[in-house]
Symmetry: C2
Subunit: 287 residues, 2 copies
């Protein structure tokens, strides 16, 4: 059994130091294990324009990964977050009259797995939501399978979860726990209903017999400014049977932990006769 925690934090756009201090507080309070933090932990989400998203991004060896590495070293935990990252891009440099040519850079939404020795795995978000293509270049690789100290983590980000192909592939690759930092925008839902984003995760856990740890955020950003959003606050840990292991904490900060049997994700049996992987019929699907 591994202690898994999702830290639903009230991030503030543009306030990296504040956001990192919220993360530090949560990681120090969580039991040693796997701690998942929200998407775009360093920057916030509702950028006014591309100048702002570029200004809030940082190199992969920048202050956020350094802070997470220190926290991982101090606690012995494995930390997961997504960050707005500025990375070298292929192509010609850009020159101007006043400056020499610089190598081009691009902004990406990168999920990292950090342990005491630094980054042990990374993944660039493939499925971009809403206006994200204005700010981020989409990734081109499958979910990372990261061999952490506690088990194999399947790493993806937010909207990626809506694609059943993607969660299936992470499970087939051998993930013990699919970890996903998210920022789920709040949409109206019928009274008493669970958020559909959570339902999608619960279904994927059951259909793939794999555990999930998904970390959402709180703290409405720039409402009324056109680019703004509030958030579901639907952070959730789900067992291999598709039932949540954590209570809901809609719309408020929360630190939710559960003991998760990661080994159980390697057993794909569904009842005494069936197996959700062996029962697939690739010869019928054609893939």
């Amino acid at each position: 059994m591994v202690a898994v925690t999702v830290a639903q934090l009230p991030l503030v756009i543009g306030e990296r130091e504040h956001n990192l201090s919220l993360a530090a507080e949560a990681v120090l309070a969580a039991p040693r294990g796997i701690v998942v933090l929200p998407e775009l932990l360093n920057s916030g989400y509702c950028f006014r324009d591309t100048e702002e998203s570029r200004a809030l991004a940082e190199p992969l060896d920048g202050p956020s990964v350094r802070a997470l590495t220190e926290l991982a070293a101090r606690t012995g935990s494995t930390l997961v977050a997504s960050l707005a990252i500025l990375e070298p891009a292929a192509g010609p440099g850009v020159a101007s009259q006043s400056e020499p040519a610089r190598p081009p850079e691009r902004v990406v939404n990168v999920a990292v797995v950090v342990e005491a020795e630094g980054i042990v795995g990374r993944y660039t978000k493939v499925h971009l939501w809403a206006r994200e293509p204005e700010h981020f270049v989409a990734g081109t690789d499958l979910p990372a399978l990261v061999p952490s100290q506690f088990g194999r983590l399947g790493l993806m980000v937010c909207y990626d979860l809506e694609f059943p192909e993607f969660t299936r592939m992470a499970a087939l690759a051998g993930a013990d726990l699919i970890v996903a930092p998210v920022n789920w925008p709040l949409e109206p839902r019928p009274e008493g209903s669970r958020a559909r984003e959570q339902i999608v995760v619960e279904a994927a856990a059951r259909q793939n017999r794999v555990a999930f740890a998904v970390c959402d955020r709180t703290g409405a950003e720039r409402l009324g400014e056109g680019v703004g959003s509030d958030w579901v606050g639907g952070s959730i840990i789900v067992g291999q049977d598709g039932f949540p292991l954590t209570p809901t904490a809609y719309g408020r900060p929360a630190l939710l932990s559960a003991e998760v049997d990661l080994e159980a994700s390697r057993d794909k049996a569904l009842g005494p006769f069936n197996d959700v992987v062996r029962d697939r019929r690739p010869e019928v699907y054609g893939f």
Copy 2:
């Protein structure tokens, strides 16, 4: 808008006439539209042995399809059910001392769509649950896309729904409504939780922006006899946003109807910027 009904019937194993009369009562009481009946409507589910399943199966032009055709003609509705069917099989005939060689036959779990003129579409269950392989030969074709009078029906059966590849393919093929007769075996679940089988359907509806009509059954069969089962009674109609359009009627007979906007399944937009089909990244998945 089309009136869609799921008829959660208390079937009795081995009692075809009784089961067909329950179906008739339900279809006559339902509003004209699409009426989905349970899996293995003609036979029941918990067979003692292969002799029994073979004896309860019937040809595709047998009494059950005849009865459904008459009901469709009388009501103008489109009917969906799955039946235990005896069909010709390839291979050498079987001879015995007392009888001449007969063409070989096999038993299959076939979903049919029936209108006034008879069968307009059929599909043989591909993913077999528990002991079904002892009784049924598995199908080898994708979900049928059936052009009914009310719209294009994607046709599958019970355990097929657990495979996200399958529901995805039915949606990509252009289903306006995915219809599935099921017999969901009752398993314990945490107090107050919805059945995971329903969650899987709700998630697939949202992820594919397609409506579902899934018809379960009631009437525990042969409990305590080893082969027996009780049933969830989780019949459900779900809209393209993944929210149920019908209340739950766990463990009791029920006729659940909803007006469903089938046209809306052709619009795959999720919010103003996204589209669940266009946003797929086949070049990343490799299929």
